[in-house]
Subunit: 406 residues, 2 copies
């Protein structure tokens, strides 16, 4: 029996960041930069107006007051998108819109709100200072400087900056492509009615959704029968498109545990009992020339989803260049709203409903019990040495993935 | 001038939950159920073994001890996926795998670990009680019962439950389809080099990414020139596929503010000054027979993204059937790590970097400044009445969307 930390540690020491790939900035959303990004152009790229108003020489309106406005002739209109380089002579003004290029000679913008809004001549009622309401070229970003560092996660704001600075494609760590397959002669696909002794293959749907919820790209293979040749052929066929493979089922103590049988013979997959409940039978290793990580999760659905949260999600994040600082990631504190026992010597992951920070059991805690799993908000993580939790005890909870709707 | 709360309130009173639609369970990930879901089958669908071991009559092994095991003949093997209804006679046993159907007559499972693992006859070293390691039909979910309520968000665990209970398709509120268009003669598409007076259309990329990050489906139209006819035709063409439309630019005090010009004449769009910085010029209303909500956001990129967080994101969540309990959603508490001033009379949204809960300004706070936006983790929300924040003051922060990488 190994500890949860030992198994996760072996996984995180084995997986590697996926080879970077150049993508369009929008396609790179949710990915991590694989190299620093340098501005191709300055921001702003040209000196422009921060307001709708009038481009002036500040000196010309220095004496303006409410009672004694300065009146200037309006010699031009400059809209955003005007690509002509204009010049403003002393004693003149031009109407200018937000984002439009400042004419040469002008050094301030008078907002339309403090004028009479004239189009032939304008009365300016307040003085201006040099630079007022003017955005200088490069004041946000200078051409050639590093705007984002390697390792930065690209969200909407980062995508805007990169694009605005003239960079259309970026080298990022791609989203991990994850093949999901479930095993077992008892499985029928969703939509078919299971006969006696059969069950719907819900695991591959659940894990496909879980892969999506961590920002990776799932390929659902679905149910593979308990036949060594078929399983091996399926695995070999999937290796070409996989950055990782997740299987469920066939790893326990049974006489027909095909995953264990097949993967004990190829690759480096090692099967361990991990001191946790649910999820004790775990396997992990690499397969094929590309050393694709393979996670063999237990077949009980609750065990499979808990294993995904504890082992697979941190590994996929690390492969995407987003390593977690520590195990376990993203704990939220809670308080036990009811008392319960916990098995000694195992880390227990109980399905709980959170009402603010008050946690109560979501229902039946059997590893086959989907009802409580679907009702739960989080997994309450009970350390191996704790055997009893009393009302009011502090708990650490791992929020269930995908419950915030991305 | 209206308040942020007034503008948001008008929006949330106008938008409606999108018409529900039946989808496959996996496609429904991240969506909210539009009706209760009823189990088509029981879970488990048949009484089965919770362990790999031996199906027995508990009475037959009642006297088993470590020193004096009970030895029983093994008359059959039952694998998971065995669809035959078998019967166990008194004094016999069958080898049985996890998830395999219990034979009639058996009432307990002896785990393989407490036997000698025999295949012809087996020595059982511990007694058993009726029901031990047996999963009764329907103990998790009974056929015909409601398994998930209307309004439930479908994540991996919910998808597993629905599929396992034999439901392949569910009626959900679909993801809002959101058309994103930016306006302005100055815009060039990313990848083109902007000439003098031109800028890259980063807004439509940024908002497309923002739409994705709230779980909605974006359609990016990109830059539309400042021409009333073109804009109107574009809007009319996009209405057919839009649950909502977001525009940026053309809503300020300028002489060429096409969005304001066009949308003041059609639909119910109302243009307001909202007491916030950045993001003062806002427009909102509905357009077309289907009353499609239209958000006309300011063209400055920081203003546009702040407006998205404050107005559009809550509206899209409400349209997806996920109403927020209160404005503003998802605040996280922080502490000011530096002192700064705030404009009186306006709600200010400052771009801040969070180091644990310590917030410092991310850089230049101009509404055109993408550098600071891209460096920020969150928006610190400073109420209108606050004009000065000192080191150590408590702050409420709105985390920037898409920075957790989905």
């Amino acid at each position: 029996m190994i500890s949860v930390e030992q198994h996760l540690d072996r996984i995180l020491r084995t997986v590697r960041v996926i080879r970077p790939f150049e993508q369009g900035v929008l396609d790179a959303q949710g990915c991590v930069l694989a190299e620093d990004v340098t501005a191709r152009g300055s921001l702003p790229g040209f000196t422009n107006s921060a307001m709708d108003g009038y481009a002036v020489r500040a000196l010309d309106v220095a004496g303006a007051t409410e009672d004694d406005p300065v009146v200037l002739p309006v010699v031009n209109d400059i809209a955003a998108g005007n690509t002509n380089a204009l010049s403003l002579a002393q004693g003149q003004t031009m109407r200018i819109m937000t984002g439009a290029p400042m004419p040469r000679g002008a050094d301030a913008v008078v907002p339309v709100e403090v004028t009479d809004g004239g189009v032939v001549r304008v009365a300016v009622r307040v003085p201006s200072v040099v630079g007022q309401h003017v955005r200088e070229v490069g004041e946000d970003v200078e051409q050639g400087t590093t705007i984002l560092r390697r390792g930065t996660l690209l969200g909407p704001g980062q995508i805007a900056l990169v694009a605005a600075a003239g960079v259309a494609r970026v080298k990022v760590v791609p989203r991990p492509r994850v093949v999901v397959l479930s095993t077992g002669d008892e499985l029928v696909d969703v939509g078919s009615t299971p006969g006696f002794g059969q069950i719907v293959d819900s695991n591959s749907l659940m894990l496909t959704a879980a892969v999506t919820s961590v920002g990776a790209t799932p390929y659902r293979v679905g149910g593979v029968p308990d036949d060594a040749r078929t399983l091996l052929d399926t695995l070999e066929g999937q290796l070409v498109r996989a950055d990782a493979i997740i299987t469920t089922g066939g790893v326990s103590m049974g006489a027909f545990d095909t995953v264990k049988e097949v993967l004990s013979r190829v690759g480096t997959v090692q099967f361990d009992k991990v001191a946790m409940r649910p999820g004790m039978p775990q396997g992990f290793g690499v397969l094929g020339d590309e050393q694709v990580p393979v996670f063999t999760l237990p077949g009980n659905p609750v065990s499979a989803l808990v294993s995904f949260h504890v082992f697979v999600a941190p590994a996929l994040r690390a492969m995407a260049g987003r390593p977690e600082p520590a195990f376990p990631p993203g704990y939220v504190p809670a308080v036990a709203a009811e008392a319960f026992s916990s098995i000694p010597g195992k880390m227990e992951f109980l399905r709980v409903v959170l009402d603010d920070d008050r946690a109560r059991l979501a229902g039946g805690q059997g590893s086959h019990m989907l009802g409580a799993l679907a009702a739960a908000d989080a997994l309450a993580v009970i350390p191996p040495e704790v055997t009893r939790v009393e009302v009011g005890d502090a708990l650490e909870c791992l929020p269930l993935l995908g419950r915030e709707g991305q």
